[in-house]
Amino acid sequence: MSIETSSQGILAIIAIMALVTLATRWGGPFLMSYVTINPRIESFINTMASSVLIAILTPMAITGDIGARAALGTTAVLMLVLHKPLPSIAAGIAAAAAARYFF
C-alpha cells in the first residue's frame, strides 16, 4: 500500500510518522507500568540506559569516515582529561571539519 505525495497524502504521511514516533516515546513508561520494579529490574534498566549510548556510538565510530573518527576520538580524550563536556564536544566537531578538509 502506498500514499500519494499530494498535499493531503503528505499530511497523512506526517500524521502516521507522528503517531508511530509518539508510540515509541510513550511505549517505554507504559510498558514499565506493568512491571514490578525490584533491584534486579532497576539494575537492568540502569545498565541498559548507559548501553544505549554505546550502541549508538560504536557503529558510528567503526563504520564512520575519518572525520567521524577524529571527532569521537578528540571528544573522548578531552572528556577523560578535562571532564568538561562543552569544550570536548566543540573540539570534536572542529576535528571532524579539519579531518575532512585535509584528508
Binding site: I16, R25, G27, P29, R40, M48, A49, I54, A55
Partner: protein, 240 residues
C-alpha cells in the same frame, strides 16, 4: 534512592526547568544547523515549506525524518515508512523505560505530556544525572522545549534559506549528537560492571549492524548491555 517504596510526588520545579532550557541552549544552536539541513533536503524532494515545518513540529525525530525522505517519490510505501520510523525511533522506548523510576512518581497526564519532547540529548543528561544520584526530569521538559524550538527554527531556515548549509558535514555538524552523547557516556560513572556492559553492548550492536535488519542495532546493543546489569547487581555500598 528508594526503589520499592512509593515515594513522594515528583513536582517539576519551574526555576530548574528554565535553568535546563538555558543549559541546552548551546547544543540547540547545532540542532538549528541540523534542522536547516533537513529543511533544505525536504524542499529539494518537493515538499512544501509549511509541510516540512509541520513534520518537524509533530514528528521531532531527525534521523527518521531524513530516512522518510529517502523513501520519497510520487508515492510513499506505507509499510516501509512505518517500519523504518518505528525501528529508528524504537530507542525512545528504552529511554522512556529507563526514566520510569522517576516518571512513576508523577501524575499520569503530566508524565505523558513530558514525554512528548523526549529526545536523545535531554534524555542523555537526565539518565547521567540519575546514575549520579540526582533526579532530573526538569531537563526532559526544559531541555526538550529548547531542542524542539531549535529543530523547528532550523527547519524553517532550511526551507527558505537552506542553500547556505547544503553540506553540514563539511563543518563537522553531523557529529554534534555523536560527540554530545559520547561526552555524556564518559561523564557517567565507570566501574567494572559498567565497562563489561559497554563491551557487550558494543559487540552486540556491531553484530546487529552487520547481520540484522537495518536500524535494529541500538535496541539490540542496549538490551544486551542491560542483561549484564540483570545478572550483575551493584552492591549497595554507596549512596545511590
Amino acid at each position: 534512592m528508594n526503589s520499592s517504596s512509593p515515594s513522594v510526588v515528583y513536582r517539576l520545579d519551574p526555576a530548574r526547568v528554565r535553568g535546563e532550557f538555558l543549559r541546552l541552549l548551546p547544543i540547540s544552536l547545532f540542532v538549528v544547523a541540523f534542522g536547516t539541513a533537513f529543511g533544505l533536503a525536504a524542499v529539494q524532494k518537493g515538499i512544501l515549506p509549511l509541510e516540512a515545518t509541520l513534520m518537524s513540529a509533530l514528528v521531532f525525530a531527525g534521523a527518521s525524518q531524513f530516512a522518510a525522505l529517502e523513501l520519497w517519490g510520487d508515492q510513499v510505501a506505507l509499510l516501509p515508512l512505518m517500519a523504518i520510523t518505528f525501528a529508528i525511533n524504537s530507542r525512545h522506548i528504552l529511554m522512556g523505560a529507563s526514566l520510569y523510576p522517576m516518571l512513576r512518581d508523577m501524575p499520569t497526564p503530566r508524565r505523558y505530556g513530558l514525554l512528548l519532547v523526549l529526545t536523545d540529548a535531554n534524555w542523555a543528561i537526565s539518565a547521567q544525572d540519575y546514575q549520579n544520584g540526582r533526579r532530573n526530569l526538569e531537563v526532559i521538559l526544559g531541555g526538550g522545549m529548547v531542542l524542539w524550538l531549535a529543530w523547528l527554527i532550523g527547519t524553517l531556515l532550511g526551507v527558505y534559506f537552506g542553500g547556505m548549509l547544503a553540506h553540514p558535514e563539511q563543518f563537522g555538524l553531523d557529529m554534534v549528537l555523536g560527540c554530545f552523547l559520547l561526552a555524556m557516556a564518559l561523564g557517567g560513572r565507570k566501574n567494572p560492571r559498567v565497562l563489561l556492559a559497554w563491551i557487550v553492548a558494543a559487540v552486540a550492536a556491531m553484530a546487529a549492524y552487520w547481520w540484522l535488519p537495518p536500524h535494529t542495532h541500538v535496541v539490540v546493543g542496549a538490551l544486551a548491555g542491560g542483561v549484564v546489569g540483570f545478572f550483575w547487581l551493584e552492591r549497595k555500598t554507596d549512596e545511590h
